[in-house]
């Protein structure tokens, strides 16, 4: 029987890998925040990483946009967008785990696109940069948090439940899950800061999401995560949906780490061995 041994959640700001390498207080701070999550993942001694994320219309196109997709191939190149400090990389994927999850999802009435070959953007690359120095094989799973209509929070929670069940059918595997993204973030829209290409329109919502996750109140989080509330929280705030799926996958684990700061739109979190 397979076991989910750790679940993590982190932001994927493209500038963070380069920032973390600088000899600055901000660089040391961001490196430490990822390292605290990675400690939990490392202790869990996983043998595969399942990354739940939202593509930013890089892997998919304005012509073809899936609600759910899962990698079933054995490799992916990335980043396919701009991630300063991260060179072009060939990531090893676990095709067997991907195929098992695909079969499990279809068997439970989800219909994800199967990606036998694809490239990954910063939403996969940045978490792996900080949380996969051990080079574990990866399985990216995509949820549409970017383009309306998005799947409901309840459906994403159920996706997490089905993924958990499928993973438990994998004999002897030790699985870590990583949710990638923010709770409140505006990219490219009117609520950007005057001097930046992003903004955090609803920091209070981000605080509330972090509190719900910390308390394990997934019912409360799912009930309040509506399409309207997501859009009020920013153009990419649908990235909360992978977190909801991941939190459901963490149902048998306890919160080991939660790091959210007032004013920020994201959190650094981990469930697993304390």
């Amino acid at each position: 029987m397979g076991e989910i041994v750790a679940v993590a959640g982190v932001p994927h700001t493209p500038g963070f890998p380069a920032l973390a390498r600088t000899a600055t207080a901000a660089g040391a701070d961001v490196a430490q925040r990822y390292a605290a999550v990675d400690e939990v993942v490392e202790r869990a001694d996983a043998d595969v990483l399942v990354v739940l994320t939202c593509d930013h219309i890089n892997t998919f196109t304005p012509d073809m946009w899936p609600t759910f997709a899962i990698a079933t191939g054995d490799g992916a190149l990335g980043p396919n967008d701009d991630v300063p400090g991260v060179p072009p990389t060939a990531y090893a994927l676990d095709a067997g785990v991907g195929a098992t999850l695909h079969r499990g999802l279809v068997g439970q009435d989800f219909d994800p696109v199967a990606l036998r070959g694809h490239s990954v953007d910063h939403s996969v690359v940045v978490p792996l940069h900080f949380l996969n120095t051990r080079g574990l094989p990866v399985v990216p799973v995509y949820l549409n948090g970017m383009v309306a209509p998005r799947p409901s929070a309840e459906r994403c929670r159920r996706l997490g439940r089905v993924l958990r069940g499928a993973l438990e059918d994998l004999p002897g595997r030790r699985i870590a899950v990583v949710a990638s993204g923010s709770f409140s973030l505006e990219v490219g829209g009117p609520r950007m800061l005057p001097d930046q290409l992003y903004g955090v329109p609803r920091p209070g919502w981000a605080r509330t999401v972090a509190d719900w996750l910390h308390r394990g109140d997934l019912d409360g989080l799912v009930a309040q995560t509506t399409e309207r509330r997501i859009e009020e929280a920013g153009t990419v705030a649908g990235e909360v949906l992978p977190w909801i799926a991941a939190a459901e996958m963490a149902a048998d684990l306890s919160v080991a780490h939660m790091d959210h700061r007032d004013g920020e739109g994201h959190a650094f979190a981990a469930w697993g061995p304390a």
Partner: protein, 98 residues
């Protein structure tokens, strides 16, 4: 379908070989070859990202015009212009929250 053509242009700047170079070299010609309306072409040539956003262009794609510094845009100018638009929502607010 025209909004799709705006989105597709923004996507192609990064991923369709030659689009970025053609757009920089002769923006009018590049836009003429795409299924855009006259108003959309005019808004693109003026870098009027607020108008393009109001039409429904996806902001995650639209911002690439600034990132790649085409159509007279740069990040600061893009930010100043897009902030003039009202935020757009795909669903109405529930009555009790209006």
């Amino acid at each position: 379908m025209s909004v799709h053509a705006i989105d597709r242009l923004c996507y192609d700047i990064a991923y369709e070989p030659g689009t970025l170079e053609r757009l920089r070299a002769d923006p009018r010609r590049e836009l003429a070859d795409r299924p855009l309306t006259a108003d959309e072409r005019d808004e693109l040539l003026r870098g009027d990202v607020a108008a393009l956003y109001r039409r429904g262009a996806h902001p995650v794609l639209l911002v690439r015009l600034a990132a790649f510094r085409v159509l007279g845009l740069d990040p600061a100018l893009y930010a100043a212009r897009i902030r003039a638009a009202e935020p757009r929502f795909s669903v109405p607010a529930p009555p009790e929250r209006e």
